[in-house]
């Protein structure tokens, strides 16, 4: 049995340009950020490899295998370049 959940996704920098949008609400069966990103690479044509990314859930860094909850705000973070 696979439950689907609604998630809010935001994109920044290179991922925003690849996705073509800066925010997206999805209903998905993905259980973790890793599964969600795999789904998005297929549906939105994202090309940055998952190994380069970090993820933030509700504005905090989290592990790529964290269990996603309905309503989570998920942001995939491309390699940062502050300073």
């Amino acid at each position: 049995m696979t439950a689907s959940r609604q998630l809010h996704i935001k994109f920044f920098a290179a991922l925003r340009e690849q996705a073509g949008v800066s925010a997206l609400d999805v209903t998905t069966s993905a259980r973790t950020p890793a599964e969600l990103y795999a789904e998005l690479t297929a549906t939105r044509g994202l090309t940055l490899p998952a190994s380069l990314l970090r993820v933030a859930i509700n504005d905090r860094y989290a592990a790529m295998d964290t269990a996603l909850q309905p309503g989570d705000r998920v942001v995939f973070i491309p390699p940062v370049a502050g300073g």
Partner: protein, 525 residues
């Protein structure tokens, strides 16, 4: 305090906000937009931030710096938006009573910003081309790719891609992060040993710095394992480095040693040396051990099934007795000597992993003297009567006591009297059944060889059967109270009782003679 702004930054105004009468130093870092990057001209930078999270992370970064460097006040402002060449992109100021803490805190803040602040920059080049920094495959994949990092080592025919894979799959424990452990761990990490665990409960002291090369003056007071792990992660981010800022004890040694490809004994005390040696032997893990005496060093590789173990090397002398002569704590030591021996430990470990070790490596004590540049190899053939690695049934007599000759050369200067000629075994260890009865309550451990069983009907009441070579289990039981060891012939139980007594493990005895209740499967049938 951290701020994000899309307006130009007034550094003089920011500096004024840090002024306080007790501050004797203010360290300021400014990051500017420059007109080139990676050999390409740059016309402007476009900064984009994940606003809500960047403010949270930025605040976390500055308050962490203030906590780790007490007395520092930290202010950081980061720009967003489109910035021309020469514009200020990030400003960090740290005010403190003294300059040292201010420099450290300022450096920490900029490094953490580059590592985790969710801010990105897009480089614009002349002609309109633009790219997100760090997101192009050439930069991200090429910068620290394993094929580049290990290129000069993989090109050795003895290593090759297959050897590098063995190193990546290897798991090595280094016990003791001092004069030996620092260089040993450094070369293991740079060689690409995939998982490296450092264990040491000590803190960095000023008197360590002349030989413990992973530490800087700033590390004084820090936990050695933690400081060394941070240094090694910076040296090679491709491998996993774990720090255990604890002593190795009978309670944790099994878990630390289990599943390792090799263990390095870089300790300075015999109690830990014996414990590690026994744990490795029982777990079937090679142990690479080194010791230092002033300008001289000794290197031993102990393979789990080879004759010539640490116990016969030191002829069952008490750990406590050896400490009094060979204790390293506070002893004079020539930095390059301990460094060389640590490097040799790394070399022997890498050879073991790569399959380059020769049979002699595991049965030879190597001695090096840096004063006269002499080296010497002494074969460790082992003692046939050793209860740990020998064959007692082939021996002419059970262990006779302390008047045994040491199997390896002494590190003491030539011509001096053997400092190990003390008789420490004053207590009678091997007792008749009648004498044992006078001891009061004792537990009985029956040591069983492969194929032997303990006949419950005729065994001493409450006797616990333990495999002969499970030295760690015997140690655990001995620690619980007075113990009598028994075995089928009465030889190994006597030898092991002496061994553990000599290590200071308390009231341990052996029953004189054979125990008929232990049978081989064939006699039982």
């Amino acid at each position: 305090m951290f701020e994000l702004t899309d307006q130009p930054v007034d550094s003089a105004a920011l500096r004024a906000r840090l002024e306080r009468p007790d501050a004797g130093a203010c360290v300021v870092f400014e990051g500017w937009v420059r007109n080139h990057h990676a050999g390409q001209p740059v016309t402007k930078l476009e900064y984009e931030a994940f606003d809500e999270m960047a403010r949270l992370e930025g605040e976390a970064i500055t308050s962490e710096a203030e906590q780790e460097h007490p007395g520092c006040t930290v202010l950081c402002v980061h720009r967003t938006g489109s910035l021309p060449v020469g514009e200020l992109a990030v400003w960090i100021g740290v005010a403190s009573a003294h300059r040292h803490a201010a420099f450290l805190a300022c450096r920490q803040v900029i490094e953490e910003i580059k590592r985790r602040l969710p801010v990105w920059k897009k480089e614009h080049h002349p002609g309109g081309a633009a790219e997100w920094v760090n997101c192009t495959t050439e930069v991200t994949a090429g910068r620290l790719a394993p094929e580049n990092y290990y290129a000069r080592q993989v090109s050795l025919p003895e290593v090759g891609a297959a050897g590098q894979q063995k190193l990546t799959a290897a798991s090595v424990l280094v016990v003791g992060v001092g004069g030996l452990g620092c260089p040993a761990a450094l070369y293991l990490a740079t060689a690409g040993v995939g998982r490296l665990t450092l264990a040491d409960a000590g803190k960095v002291e000023v008197s360590n710095l002349h030989r413990q090369i992973l530490f800087t003056a700033d590390d004084v007071g820090a936990a050695k394992a933690t400081a060394a792990a941070a240094r090694l992660r910076a040296q090679n981010p491709l491998v996993k480095i774990e720090a255990h800022a604890t002593d190795v004890t009978p309670a944790n040694v099994r878990a630390l040693v289990a599943g390792r490809t090799a263990v390095l004994d870089c300790t300075d005390n015999f109690a830990t040396r014996f414990l590690l040696h026994d744990a490795c032997r029982f777990a079937g893990v090679p142990l690479v051990s080194a010791a230092i005496y002033r300008f001289e060093g000794e290197l031993n590789v102990f393979l789990p099934n080879a004759a010539g173990c640490l116990h016969c090397l030191w002829a069952w002398r008490a750990a406590g007795e050896l400490e009094t002569v060979a204790n390293c704590a506070g002893a004079p030591v020539f930095g390059p000597a301990v460094g060389l021996l640590g490097v040799l430990q790394a070399a022997e470990t890498l050879k073991l992993i790569l399959g380059l070790a020769t049979p002699g490596d595991g049965q030879t004590t190597r001695l090096v003297n840096l004063l006269d540049f002499s080296t010497q190899g002494i074969a460790r053939s082992g003692d046939p009567a050793c209860p740990v690695c020998g064959n007692p049934l082939a021996a002419p007599a059970p262990v006779a006591g302390p008047a045994r000759s040491r199997a390896a050369g002494s590190l003491s200067p030539k011509g001096s009297p053997d400092p190990f000629s003390l008789n420490t075994l004053k207590d009678p260890v091997v007792l008749e059944a009648g004498e044992l009865a006078t001891l009061g309550p004792v537990q009985t451990i029956a040591l069983l060889e492969v194929g032997e069983t303990l006949d419950a009907a005729t065994a001493p009441p409450g006797a616990v059967a333990v495999p002969m070579h499970d030295l760690l289990r015997v140690r655990e039981l001995v620690a619980q109270g007075p113990t009598v060891l028994v075995c089928r012939h009465g030889l190994r139980s006597a030898a092991l009782a002496r061994l553990f007594r000599a290590e200071g493990l308390g009231k341990i005895y052996a029953l004189a003679g054979a125990l008929p209740a232990i049978r081989t499967h064939t006699t039982a049938n």
